[in-house]
């Protein structure tokens, strides 16, 4: 049955509908609008609406409350949502059980229910009204202005919101030149991605002479990660229809098509309903608004071909053919659909038009930047808290959208990149978070504005995999008409696939770049020309990841699964065989487990205590509940198993190697070289070996006897360690170079960075590294009663906790950023707080106040977070005039470390730059016989990273020696075979993570006893049972 309605052909009739709807609304005390966008529908919103209606009947509230569906509110993250107008109370995350309470309390007794309102998770602030919810209040709504206020399936709701008034103005009051003039004045550019000025496009088409013209709307939203157009069609279809009527009038078209994806059933349904209603009301059809202007609109359902988003391909498709593009010119404005002049715009572009005509182009042009006017709708998704639809003024920084509106990255993960523009766009890293949303600025940064897909990626995303993903997309969607795209994208994909399989070759990166350029220059249409963009942008910003894949066979994000057995093992810098040793714990075979540990790490009992356990951040179990406590299990093995006996390795090589520095890196290198048959001597300035493990980490975290045990084993293997030997004092560099064929330089970073403020030379001011060294040397050290620590890293926490143990009454850590930015390990921070250490955030020291050369106070400056820095965190900047003073007698500077080159001869010889030693891919310095690694190369890091560096350098030195002698690579001796059982518990998924037992707080004070006590056998067995054994697939393959 076709809809029938009196024709609305005068402005008076529009007014009377508006009045009638207004009066009708006023009869209800409350109008409940239930979001019916696709995501909310998927979360059951339609059933909720029915339940509300049932309760309203039950309680006889039909005259008081109206219930209706509304379009997507954009805040999909908290769906299903409901707004209760006129006040605009915002309810979120509703379930069927919540409805009765809302109906009774709010609708019956006029008391809105706070517990279903929006609350900020971190601050707990309650937001009652939709206008206050931060996600929505920081937006600027033009295109989405009707969402939440109208039922998309009711044309009169749209008319109530001033709908079809712009169409009336355009048809009845304006000449075509005036309409085009307004659109040109608005500065509106195509929202589909290209950004061509809309007014200009219309002008070209209006100037083309033809008996027939067409207006097309591109709703073939194909970019992965884009759902703006779907949402607009679902929540405000009439705005698109109205925009198209105005466009048709401007160019003189009588027929229009909306080309919409078949994959959008709800959008199709609502658009069809809207067209039917518009026809019934006389906004479509013949003699619209009595102006003798005719316009018919039809939907054309796309059949799933990405290339049909390209305008010439889209027109081919409407003509019923394969959707392949054709060369331009002629442009569609001259020869488009069926060879007639045609205007094609995107959904969002049309949706902007009624507003521009209604309020004037100049008004619209006030929003935005010089080159981009108005607002842009973005679909925010990926690794982001508040995913959904966002409309912001042009010129808003990208980081503001992601962090202030989007709420940042969930689960405490770090931002890595944002993908803009889909397969034609690019990935921008943290350093571009300050880039403004503007066509030209984004292109300059290496992406494109695109249609509005904004996919946020966190640290667990592999950028090579992303490039491969997009290339696969383009390859699959290439229509095949032109060779560069058909074959070129296939070749690029093959290269990317092999890199992701771990089979990348030297030269692959250059080949990709070469192909990218050729395809970009020679492909026929936009799809092909832009297909290499995701590869180019990831190469530009994440080249190191490509190199890691190709040269180190490492996928740091642990995504490319052909490259590894399990994610935890791959994430570990030294590739510890985690699933195996956990399986052995479970099988009560601790001695075997210990042997597995020692295969890759000479310091397992240390790493069982002080590691940052990257492995756990990649543990698959974390997706179910919490990661397996890998670090604690490792410690359990070393605490409880008999340490495997170590035998001296015979010297089989004539070359001798010297190592400078007996820290984790130097010792790991020495041991690896010794295993390969070299005579190795390690030189150490301090009385005992161990470097930072010995003199940096306090005893309560890493008891000295534990360290000593592991270093003794290295000695037993045959490594000679000469302590109390300082280069430049006890032995010269030239003597070293005379004695040894090659040197490994691993002196660490032994000096605290200066605060660089007044009063720093006063007594009572310490550097954290120096202070910890003094304490760990057993020298008597006396700190004051009120200790202030500056910084937020591990050495800040270590010195704060040490100060607590030395009897300080108060210890306060001052950090210039926020809690979540603290670089120190979370468990350390928690333990410090338990012990009474206080934290102050967003403060930086500005002056140390001294009396008689001794510290008496500290002046601090309050900070606020400004724009983003290159790490993706907001930069702290001082707040003017907000300083304060605290009384303190001890200040510990822990804001960074640097290397000390006691013998300046080093600096020239190995080319020190800005305190650090530059090395090549093989860890070689510019001196042909000196390699370097550990903190002195990469800055302060964890033990495990230093071990990796040492081992890599040892391998590189060995390879170099053998290559020079034309010898084959070293063959590791055959290892004892250890059978790894596979046994999974049925109920493994129900076990929660075992907590680490700790020393009581009172026992920690004044003592350096180890705080973490280690698992009991029972706890360890339970914890080991939680491992999901991601290695099983590959293990079975290798067992076969």
């Amino acid at each position: 049955m076709p809809l029938t309605h009196d024709l609305v052909n005068t402005v008076d009739k529009l007014d009377s509908i508006k009045r009638r709807i207004g009066e009708l609304r006023d009869t209800f005390t409350y109008q409940a609008m239930v979001c019916s966008g696709t995501p909310c529908q998927a979360a059951d919103s339609l059933a909720l609406k029915n339940i509300i209606e049932e309760y309203i009947k039950l309680y006889h509230l039909e005259d008081k409350v109206s219930v209706s569906e509304c379009g997507c509110m954009g805040f999909c993250a908290v769906g299903p949502v409901m707004i209760v107008n006129p006040e605009g109370i915002f309810y979120q995350k509703l379930t069927r059980e919540d409805i009765k309470e809302i109906v009774k309390s709010h609708f019956m007794n006029d008391t809105p229910v706070e517990k279903f309102m929006h609350r900020d998770e971190s601050t707990g602030t309650l937001y009652r009204y939709v206008k206050d919810v931060p996600f929505l209040s920081s937006q600027k709504l033009i295109v989405l202005k009707n969402s939440g206020y109208m039922n998309p399936e009711n044309i009169e709701d749209y008319i109530y919101r001033d709908g079809y008034r712009a169409a009336y103005m355009a048809l009845a009051d304006k000449s075509t030149a005036e309409i085009i003039g307004e659109v040109k004045a608005s500065g509106l550019r195509g929202r589909g991605g290209g950004g061509f000025p809309t007014g200009l496009k219309w002008e070209f088409c209006a100037a083309s002479k033809s008996d027939e013209k067409y207006v097309l709307c591109n709703a073939d939203e194909g970019d992965p990660g884009a759902f703006m157009d779907r949402s607009i069609l679902e929540s405000d279809p009439h705005s698109v229809i109205e925009g198209m009527i105005i466009a048709a009038r401007a160019i003189g078209a009588k027929q229009g098509y909306v080309y919409c994806r078949a994959e959008y059933p709800l959008a199709l349904k609502r658009l069809q309903k809207a067209i039917d209603q518009a026809e019934a009301y006389g906004f479509l059809g013949k003699n619209i608004f009595n102006t003798y202007f005719d316009f018919h609109l039809e939907i054309y359902k796309g059949a799933g071909a990405f290339v049909c988003g390209e305008e010439t391909a889209l027109m081919q498709s409407i003509e019923g053919k394969r959707g392949t593009p054709r060369p331009r010119p002629p442009f569609p404005a001259v020869s488009g659909l069926w060879g007639k002049p045609t205007v094609l715009n995107n959904v969002e572009t049309y949706s902007n038009i009624p507003n521009i005509v209604l309020n004037g182009g100049d008004e619209y042009a006030k929003i935005g930047t010089d080159s981009a006017k108005g607002t842009k709708v973005f679909a925010l998704s990926g690794d982001i808290k508040n995913f959904g639809l966002v409309e912001v003024p042009m010129g808003t920084p990208i980081g503001k959208v992601i962090f202030d509106i989007g709420g940042g990255i969930p689960d405490g993960n770090r931002f890595k990149a944002v993908q803009l523009g889909g397969p034609s766009g690019g990935c921008l890293p943290a350093e571009h978070l300050n880039t403004l949303i503007d066509y030209d600025a984004i292109i300059k940064a290496g992406a494109i504005m695109g249609s509005g897909g904004m996919v946020v990626m966190d640290e667990h995303t592999c950028m090579v995999d992303i490039a491969r993903y997009f290339m696969e997309f383009c390859q699959d969607e290439s229509c095949g008409k032109c060779t560069p795209c058909r074959i070129g994208t296939r070749r690029m994909l093959e290269i990317l696939q092999r890199i992701c399989r771990g089979e990348g070759q030297d030269g692959d990166i250059e080949l990709l770049e070469d192909l990218a350029k050729t395809i970009g220059d020679s492909a026929l249409c936009g799809l092909g020309q832009t297909a290499p963009n995701p590869v180019l942008s990831t190469l530009r910003y994440f080249r190191k990841e490509y190199e890691d894949h190709i040269y180190r066979k490492t996928c740091t994000a642990a995504v490319c699964r052909d490259m590894f057995v399990s994610t935890c093992q791959h994430a570990c810098p030294v590739g510890m065989d985690i699933p195996s040793y956990i399986a052995l714990v479970k099988a009560h075979r601790l001695e075997d487990a210990y042997k597995v540990l020692l295969r890759t790490n000479p310091f397992p009992s240390i790493c069982g205590r002080v590691c940052d356990h990257v492995c756990e951040t990649k543990c698959r179990r974390a997706q179910m509940d919490q990661a397996v406590a890998i670090k604690n299990l490792k410690r359990f093995i070393t605490d409880n198993a008999v340490r495997p006996a170590v035998h001296a390795v015979p010297i089989t090589r004539k070359e001798k190697i010297g190592v400078v520095g007996a820290g984790a890196s130097g010792l790991a290198a020495a041991l690896e070289l010794r295993k390969r048959g070299y005579a190795v001597t390690v030189y150490e300035e301090m009385p005992e070996p161990g470097g930072m493990m010995r003199y940096g980490i306090p005893d309560y975290r890493l008891p000295h006897r534990i360290l000593k045990g592991e270093i003794d084993d290295i000695r037993k293997a045959g490594v000679e360690i000469k302590t109390r030997t300082k280069i430049g004092r006890d032995i010269t560099i030239n003597e070293l170079l005379d004695t040894y064929d090659y040197l490994y330089f691993a002196i660490g970073a032994q000096q605290s960075a200066k605060l660089d403020i007044r009063g720093e030379s006063s007594r009572g001011v310490y550097g954290a590294v120096e202070l910890l060294r003094q304490i760990n040397s057993g020298k008597k050290t006396k700190l004051g009663k009120h200790v202030s620590v500056i910084g937020g890293g591990n050495s800040a926490i270590d010195s704060a906790r040490s100060a607590m143990r030395m009897g300080a009454e108060t210890v306060t850590v001052y950090y210039r950023r926020e809690r979540q930015d603290l670089p120190a390990l979370k468990e350390e921070v928690n333990e410090a707080e338990e012990e009474g250490v206080r934290f102050e955030f967003l403060v930086a020291p500005s002056k140390i106040i001294a009396k008689n050369h001794h510290v008496v106070g500290l002046e601090l400056q309050r900070m606020k977070l400004g724009s983003f820095d290159s790490s993706g965190r907001k930069k702290p900047v001082p707040i003017d005039d907000e300083t304060f003073t605290v009384a303190t007698d001890t200040v510990i500077a822990a804001i960074g470390q640097k290397a000390v080159y006691d013998d300046p001869a080093w600096m020239d010889m190995i080319g020190v730059k800005k305190d650090w030693v530059p090395v090549d891919r093989h860890m070689k310095t510019c001196h042909g016989r000196i390699w370097a690694g550990g903190d002195v190369v990469s800055g302060p890091g964890m033990v495990i990273g230093a071990v990796r560096a040492g081992r890599d350098a040892a391998i590189a030195i060995d390879n170099k020696i053998r290559a020079d002698n034309n010898e084959p690579d070293w063959q590791a001796p055959v290892e004892e075979e250890i059978y790894i059982p596979v046994e999974l518990d049925e109920k493994a998924d129900q076990i929660t993570r075992e907590e680490m037992p700790e020393l009581s707080i009172s026992e920690r004070r004044n003592s350096y006893h180890e705080v973490e006590l280690g698992y009991t056998q029972k706890a360890a067995l339970r914890e080991a049972g939680r491992c999901l054994r991601c290695d099983v697939d590959k293990l079975e393959k290798s067992n076969k």
Binding site: A42, D223, P224, F227, V455
Partner: protein, 170 residues
């Protein structure tokens, strides 16, 4: 009964019922005087038959007077059309960027293991067919899996079996 005689191809046997053939005929008739109607016709026919085997294409070619080569060209060009039969329940896994980033590939692996089919295939009992599709625009609730018309949000590989079971029972 039917008021037209339909020249049904004989080679296809009894796969489609008389009603289905009649519906196809009506679709073609509905679009008879429309320009560029081939794609809508194919879309609607596929809704009736589930897929577009050669025999159906031949029939459409003859009735619409469009060369079979062009029809085949169009059917194979657009991913919406298929020449393979589909299961009673169609499972579509979105491989859009957001879904990819949030682990849709693992969901596909899980389905492959459970159903013993690869994407593009149909189970022997014709209960399920599996497809991977381009972005469905529900990125906010990624990863998504659509069974028939019902969208399942934030699907983890561990939840897949339970979802399938709800359809098995029907």
């Amino acid at each position: 009964m039917l008021d037209v005689t339909i020249d049904k191809p004989t080679s296809i046997g009894d796969e489609f019922t008389q009603e289905q053939w009649y519906a196809i005929h009506r679709i073609i008739e509905k679009y008879s005087d429309k320009k560029g109607a081939l794609i809508p016709v194919l879309e609607e026919v596929q809704e009736i038959t589930g897929y577009l085997p050669e025999e159906i294409q031949r029939y459409i070619s003859r009735e619409m007077k469009i060369p079979l080569s062009r029809i085949y060209g169009v059917v194979t060009f657009y991913s919406f059309f298929t020449m393979k039969p589909r299961g009673k329940h169609q499972i579509r896994i979105c491989l859009g960027t957001a879904c990819h980033v949030r682990g849709s590939q693992r969901v596909v692996h899980e389905l492959e293991d459970l159903l013993h089919i690869k994407p593009g295939e149909c189970t022997c009992d014709r209960q399920f067919s599996l497809e991977t599709v381009r972005c469905l625009g529900a990125c906010g609730v990624a990863p998504v899996m659509v069974v028939d018309e019902h969208l399942h949000k934030q699907v983890k590989s561990e939840k897949v079996e339970a979802i399938l079971n709800t359809y098995n029972r029907e």
